[in-house]
Symmetry: C2
Subunit: 327 residues, 2 copies
């Protein structure tokens, strides 16, 4: 890294990249310039810390780049919007090989190609640990962004994507299990290394005659994030667990003596989407109805408050089911 220098490295990372149509001015000036076709834009930011949000012995640089974009792009889609650009802050130890950084950038660009938008700028600094900060920008797909606060009693709760795979992959990696031994382990581990949020299903939902009235992505855990939605909307949510059963995860959990139900209900990081539709409407194909909205507060599973850990909170060691990668 030291041999190449900051400006040469930035030039190498940006070489041959094509900016998206919303980027009016890309890297190379004091700031980037983006178009806001609807007169407003949606913004989300996430920070990833080495050994906390990823481990270099578990994930390659391209995985880490894909994950960093995916979790921010998912936040943009979770507002009923589509990403048009990203800026990326990268703190890297001086000993980091240049190839690591270019592979990381390839991962960023590869997931941006799936999600929409391009890397419009960034900052590279020296750091004792690898640190990544992504900020994503998006255009609303409808007239208004879709928040967490639009759910009303009688509404229909549906999800796009299957939760629990990332948590299962973490269990495989943390247990030091050989992936060859367990069917489904490779899929789970891949999901943990870099989620693949079903962005297209949000597009489908927003393009329909009856778009969702509330939307969120599941990053802290299904029950935890439904808890946030319940609180923002001032409603109760009941989840029907039978619909969430996943035989592949149950088989893997059986082999690992783990609990597939807990992976599904409390594992985050898959970045599946949860949406609420008005009473009487039918969520579009690809969305699975998993419960309903009721008067009241809080989240129940099959009518009963779930007694296990709920999900992820950054400084709480006790009620977290999310992987802590610290060694």
């Amino acid at each position: 890294m030291r041999d190449l220098g900051e400006f040469a490295l930035i030039a190498r990372i940006n070489a041959g990249r094509e900016q998206g149509p919303a980027v009016q001015l890309g890297p190379g000036d004091d700031a980037a310039v983006l178009a806001a076709v609807r007169g407003r834009y949606v913004v989300s930011t996430d920070m990833l810390i080495e050994d906390r949000h990823f481990r270099l012995d578990w994930s390659g640089p391209a995985d880490i780049g894909r994950k960093a974009i995916a979790q921010n792009a998912a936040d943009i889609y979770a507002m009923g919007a589509e990403p048009v650009g990203y800026v990326v802050g990268l703190g890297v130890p001086e000993r980091t090989p240049v190839d690591f950084v270019t592979a990381f950038a390839d991962g960023l660009w590869s997931e941006a190609a799936r999600a929409g938008g391009s890397i419009a700028g960034g900052d590279i600094v020296r750091s004792p640990h690898l640190v990544i900060s992504v900020t994503a920008f998006g255009d609303p797909l409808g007239e208004q962004p879709v928040t967490r606060s639009g759910a009303r009693a009688g509404g229909i709760l549906a999800i796009a994507g299957r939760p629990g795979r990332s948590a299962a992959g973490y269990a495989v990696l943390a247990g030091g299990h050989s992936m060859e031994s367990y069917p489904g382990a490779d899929t789970a581990v891949a999901a943990h290394r870099a989620p693949r949020p079903p962005y297209d299903l949000v597009r489908t939902a927003m393009a329909g005659d009856h778009p969702p009235v509330a939307l969120t992505d599941i990053s802290d855990g299904l029950l935890a994030d439904l808890g946030h939605l319940s609180e923002s909307s001032g409603v109760a949510i009941d989840v029907r667990s039978a619909v969430l059963r996943d035989t592949a995860l149950e088989e893997l959990a059986g082999s690992l003596e783990a609990d597939a139900r807990q992976w599904i209900l409390t594992g985050g990081e898959d970045h599946v989407f949860a949406g609420v539709w008005p009473p009487g409407s039918v969520p579009p194909p690809g969305w699975t109805v998993i419960g309903g909205i009721e008067a009241g507060r809080g989240v129940t599973v099959d009518g009963v408050r779930y007694s296990g850990p709920q999900g992820w909170e950054a400084f709480s060691g006790t009620d977290s089911a999310k992987p802590d990668h610290s060694r």
Copy 2:
């Protein structure tokens, strides 16, 4: 930190804060929503790493917060734009007192009040070192953003603000000098802890009949950043050093056996602004003409290429005059 938890901490940081008029949806959902009154927005991001960009024994949490906003706000103004919002990623060690984080947030908000815009969202994570990532968003003050590439031969180069104070402050701190002993040391140290970019002078310049045709902020060092402007515009720049002389810095440099000229020419982090005006025009009051634009390439001082270090590059150890805070 562990006692309070992420969500309670975020609630405490955001309590009583008032969002700016451009923020249509602030913290608490999957993403924030901002208005783009001109149909486009300007975006800049910077990452600050503990012991690299600041030292906890030199700067308090409020200083660090102010600096983090100032350097990003300066990038927005350096595009001829004004900040309307910021998102802040914060990585903190678990042992960090909650009061440190709230004082840091106060620093963010205090500088945002000077610069314009409000903290519209963020992310708090656990990290072995303190890491801050700010992304700033702005509205162009004119029809078009002002880039680094608009300078043409015959143009007039002027700066707003006085460069070299932050570098001088670093010299005081790094030398372990007692601030009482040297006149001007306290001013320089304050400038190093948290720069105060002259945002208002960019507003004045953009509001005039003849706004600048090129603009940048000085973050890597005066000569280094003029080098970027020269390269982007495809012009040569000559700086007249006599105009840049600063008796306060010369006196301090004399006491410390340092070189005020080097602080001024190569010290970054003051976030003064450099602008180029068309031939024959007069930069507005508060702007000091320091040189001119010529045909050719590169930057000269009084007609001669400067032979000392030029400025700051993140992974280059040899040609840097910027403080490296590593111990």
